[in-house]
């Protein structure tokens, strides 16, 4: 994987401005999530809270390959995805706080972020359950003969689920513009991938459907952008689906209720993986390329800090949803 990584890195040339933008997005997600963890500890956020820390390069690299009218859909670990798609951190934080200005009016919470204004289709908490929905979006794009694309993000834990197979088959059979992106962080909760799949090279499942499959270094934002870029082009130009396996790692527990995350993996493994930190490594690469000096970095970091603090302030100030909203939106 290391080799893949540097291979991709070697390929990954990027204009300084773009590189800085990608870095800033990753940093925003990182700090947003760290702040969310604090807020959870303070009891301002309830329910489950699944942090995206460690996987930032996947959402940021993938969304960088999209047009704004393209669609994205993800699971319950989607804070990073909605922010990378262009979601407003203030409304995302307000959703975590369960407030009326949240993206889903406070009714969805951490696992159910939706934002129609940026074509972000959720925020779903049934593992595998939204893959057929992404496939249906692909059907609609073809039906209306548009040149849009949908990115469908899911974890390695969705692969053993039947809907993965049904969706892959339908997308390949009907030639749909769907890019399936498996964020393989090697664990589904406490289950290591080799205890869940008879064959653990996720990208190889594409072969069974005669669909292009590709693995990339999910810790390398440029490598992800490249792979997804190829897949998006295929989808846009020839309405062909792709399965991408982004090899990544979750630095924190499965959710805030799994703080140690140490029963099923070793501290050493976690420490080793942290050496692949997508932000640290990309920041270093930009520095070496002369695109980022200390001053630029601290300016970037401060901008991010300000946005995250502003998001918290906004969420705090936002009122609770009114009681009538309990029974609103049940029927259109």
């Amino acid at each position: 994987m290391a080799t893949r990584g540097s291979a991709a890195a070697a390929k990954g040339r990027v204009e300084p401005a773009v590189g800085l933008a990608l870095l800033e997005q990753m940093q925003l997600i990182r700090r947003f999530e760290e702040k969310a963890a604090e807020m959870y500890a303070l009891g301002k956020i309830g329910g489950f809270l699944h942090l995206y820390i460690g996987q930032e390069a996947v959402a940021v690299g993938a969304m960088a390959a999209l047009r704004s009218d393209d669609y994205a859909i993800a699971g319950y670990r989607e804070h990073g995805h909605i922010l990378a798609k262009g979601g407003d951190p203030r409304r995302v934080m307000a959703e975590l706080f369960g407030r009326r200005d949240g993206v889903s009016k406070g009714k969805g919470g951490s696992m159910h972020m939706f934002d129609r204004s940026i074509n972000f289709l959720g925020g779903h908490a049934i593992v595998g359950g939204y893959l057929p929905i992404a496939t249906g979006v692909g059907v609609a794009i073809r039906y209306e003969d548009r040149d849009r694309v949908i990115l469908c993000f899911f974890g390695d834990g969705s692969v053993p689920q039947g809907e993965f197979h049904e969706s892959m088959n339908l997308a390949a059979l009907w030639k749909l513009p769907v890019v399936f992106i498996c964020e393989n962080n090697r664990y589904a909760m406490g289950t290591a991938i080799q205890r869940a799949l008879a064959q653990t090279d996720v990208s190889k499942y594409a072969d069974a459907y005669g669909m292009p499959g590709e693995a990339c270094d999910g810790m390398d934002v440029l490598a992800v952008r490249e792979s997804v870029g190829r897949a998006v082009a295929r989808a846009r130009d020839s309405k062909a689906p792709t399965l991408i396996e982004a090899r990544t790692y979750r630095f924190r527990g499965h959710s805030m209720r799994d703080p140690a995350a140490a029963v099923y993996r070793t501290k050493d493994e976690v420490e080793e993986e942290k050496q692949r930190d997508p932000i640290v490594s990309f920041r270093e690469r930009l520095r070496q390329a002369g695109a980022l000096d200390e001053a630029a970095w601290s300016a970037l970091a401060e901008r991010v800090e300000a946005r995250v603090n502003d998001a918290v302030a906004f969420a705090d100030a936002s009122p609770e949803p009114p009681a009538e909203w309990l029974t609103a939106d049940v029927y259109a």
């Binding site: 889903s104 939706f114 129609r116 359950g129 893959l131 929905i133 496939t135 609609a140 088959n169 609103a328």
Partner: protein, 327 residues
């Protein structure tokens, strides 16, 4: 008005709504080349082409999700379940997704989706192919549930379901596809969802029955009219969720005696809801407890003689009516 079959009425509703709105399309197993397992979609592929009449492989969860996804981004899919028994394979899509996405998204994503196909007992199809599934769906906030009884209901309600912006579970019946009746040809003929119909006026007892049970209740009503001079009013809810409480209560206040007939196994089902609702809302108007009749508490057996015993018969309804009036 033309006299056509329930099957033709559904076919016309599909045809008219697909002509009216290009966003409407049909997807399911055997809906195209084969013309529909029960021929409801006959001729639609020829008329609308493969873009709008889509045959799918066998993967109910997958193609139901396809309908939900297409609905999220502005289309108005109609998903055919070859029979509703197979909807169990897709129940997560229907209950966890179709019914909840509007709510979870704070109102951003309506799901204008119709899931339709036959349900309930048929002809010796045994346990896995004869289930009355409506109660599963009635229990779920966010879904509407329709069970058309006559060809007229079938057409008017299907058209309204297709125009509705919510997920609608539309359960037809294998045993009714051949039933004939008068149906308006007017392309704007609609029967609103949530409106029951008094299909037979009566004074002494209210029988609440839908789909196949309606026809047995009607036979029973005619029999007790002749034999005992009992006048039975029959109310067909047509839409089970939302339920037309007004029409039901009006009839109860008139007759003071109620029978609810259900083909399914009953326990914690739609009949339980109707009975308990009536009792709560019109207790003092009742001269007798609401009587429920439902199918035997068992899966559907194959043997013809046992199958006949499984679903409430005219005779059982007649007895129940007599008992009610004896109180």
């Amino acid at each position: 008005m033309a006299v056509i079959t329930y099957r033709e009425a559904l076919n016309h509703a599909l045809r008219e709504e697909m002509e009216r709105d290009d966003r409407v399309f049909l997807v399911g197993e055997e809906v195209g080349v084969y013309g529909g397992a029960y021929k409801v979609s006959q001729g639609l592929l020829e008329k609308f082409g493969e873009r709008r009449v889509i045959d799918t492989p066998i993967c109910e969860s997958g193609f139901t999700g396809v309908g939900i996804g297409a609905a999220m981004v502005g289309l108005r899919p109609i998903v055919e379940m070859m029979t509703f028994n197979f909807a169990l394979v897709a129940l997560d899509q229907i209950v966890n997704h179709a019914a909840k996405i509007l709510y979870m998204s704070g109102g951003q994503f309506p799901i204008p989706l119709v899931i339709r196909g036959p349900g309930g007992p048929a002809h010796q199809l045994a346990a896995q192919h004869s289930q009355s599934m409506e109660s599963y769906f009635c229990h779920v906030p966010g879904l509407k549930v329709v069970r058309p009884t006559t060809p007229r209901d079938a057409k008017g309600l299907l058209k309204s379901s297709i125009r509705d912006d919510n997920p609608v579970i539309f359960i037809e019946s294998e045993t009714l596809y051949g039933v004939k009746g008068e149906v308006p040809e007017d392309a704007d003929f609609l029967i609103p969802l949530g409106v029951a119909e008094v299909k037979r006026e009566g004074r002494d007892v209210t029988a609440i029955a839908y789909s196949g049970m309606y026809y047995r209740a009607l036979e029973a009503a005619e029999e007790v009219e002749k034999s005992d001079g009992i006048s039975v009013e029959i109310v067909d809810p047509r839409t089970l969720r939302p339920m037309d409480t007004e029409t039901i209560l009006a009839s109860v206040r008139k007759t003071h005696r109620v029978l609810v007939a259900e083909s399914g196994a009953g326990f914690a089902g739609m009949g339980s809801e109707i009975a308990s609702f009536i009792t709560e809302s019109a207790f003092d108007d009742l001269d007798a407890p609401v009587a429920r009749i439902f199918g035997a508490n068992a899966p559907m057996p194959y043997a013809r003689n046992l199958e006949r015993l499984k679903t409430p018969s005219k005779e059982r309804i007649v007895d129940a009516i007599r008992k009610l009036c004896a109180v």
